[in-house]
């Protein structure tokens, strides 16, 4: 297990997960969100090849109201 930050909260996750596996493990079932790791955008096309590392700060953002 490794410790990462997901949307600002500490979480323990399995080692070696790629992003696609991570979002499935977290329960995201729909599209309509985007991911950044350590403040760098990761496009959908790179979900499979991007492996989560210990200490990564992951942001999962979705549409909300805005001005």
């Amino acid at each position: 297990m490794i410790t990462v930050s997901i949307n600002g909260e500490r979480k323990e996750i399995k080692e070696g997960l790629n992003i696609k596996e991570l979002i499935k493990a977290l329960g995201y079932t729909t599209s309509g969100f985007a991911i950044a790791i350590n403040t760098t955008f990761v496009p959908i096309a790179k979900y499979l090849e991007t492996i989560i590392k210990a200490g990564d700060e992951i942001d999962i953002l979705a549409p909300v109201q805005g001005g």
């Binding site: 729909t30 985007a34 991911i35 953002l61 805005g66």
Partner: protein
């Protein structure tokens, strides 16, 4: 001649889109999603600002807000609200492009947490990168002429100076500066963004020759957001028509409007 919001004379272009309405409206702060939906419809705005925030899987399931916006058939303008550096804003813009499927971005980089004043240095830096990446950048800035010049220098075709602080409702703090920006950049699309509190503020901005108005709180926080949205629709149109018509010169003396020839009860000899 009948003048309505659909009058062909009102058609304009921004970011490669041809639009009827010069009102851009926000989607936040409404009393309910139903109020938001009805207010946007009543405003007849064709550009609606949206944002991105952290959401858990549970919150994200079936995102009802996004479904409402999609049903309105409007052009969305995602913002980078809450970003405090060029790096954060660039990443948010890239994420927004993927989620919302648009290369339009309202670039907001905040430099002061108290008055939400934009950071001009980081805004210019982010704008330069985003334009190179193919974004249509709508930068939120102050009424500073030199900052506007720097944004134009890095390729911004649209600039959005504030009227006053975000959410303040104080209207145009410095019309002279706004006028100077308009005069300096006749070729750019200029939108007043932030600080508009009531329709008369929007009229004033449009009379200065601004191409449009972006607002949110003034409608969402009105006692009747739907009626206020309609009020702003007419205000923006009125201001634009006044600008196109050309406002009369002010005079330092009174001048009667009714003809003096034939004035009754005046006699040469009494």
């Amino acid at each position: 001649m009948t003048l309505t919001v659909n009058n062909p004379n009102n058609i304009w272009e921004i970011g490669g889109k041809t639009l009827n309405s010069r009102l851009l409206i926000g989607s936040a702060l409404y009393p309910s999603p139903a109020h938001m939906e009805e207010a946007i419809r009543a405003s007849e705005a064709e550009i609606v600002t949206v944002s991105l925030r952290r959401q858990s899987a549970k919150q994200n399931a079936g995102n009802s807000f996004w479904n409402i916006i999609k049903s309105l058939n409007v052009q969305v303008l995602p913002n980078t609200a809450g970003c405090h550096s060029a790096k954060e804003a660039i990443t948010t813009a890239q994420m927004a492009r993927e989620v919302f499927g648009t290369h339009w971005i309202k670039l907001e980089v905040i430099g002061d947490q108290y008055n939400l004043q934009p950071d001009p240095f980081e805004t210019v830096k982010a704008a330069e990168v985003l334009i190179k990446e193919g974004f249509e950048v709508f930068p939120y800035t102050t009424d500073d002429l030199v900052v506007a010049k720097r944004l134009a220098d890095v390729g911004c075709k649209i600039i959005m100076p504030w009227g006053s602080m975000i959410g303040s409702g104080k209207g145009l703090m410095n019309p002279m500066n706004l006028k100077a920006i308009r005069q300096a950049f006749p070729e750019l699309k200029l939108i007043i963004d932030a600080g508009i509190g009531k329709p008369s503020h929007a009229v004033q901005a449009m009379e200065l020759g601004y191409d449009g108005i972006l607002l949110n709180s003034a409608v969402a926080l009105a006692q009747d957001p739907i009626k206020m949205a309609a009020g702003f629709k007419y205000a923006v149109e009125a201001g634009r028509l006044a600008y196109e018509a050309g406002v009369m010169q002010e005079r330092e003396f009174a001048s009667p409007s009714t003809p003096t020839v034939g004035t009754p009860f005046w006699h040469q000899f009494k």
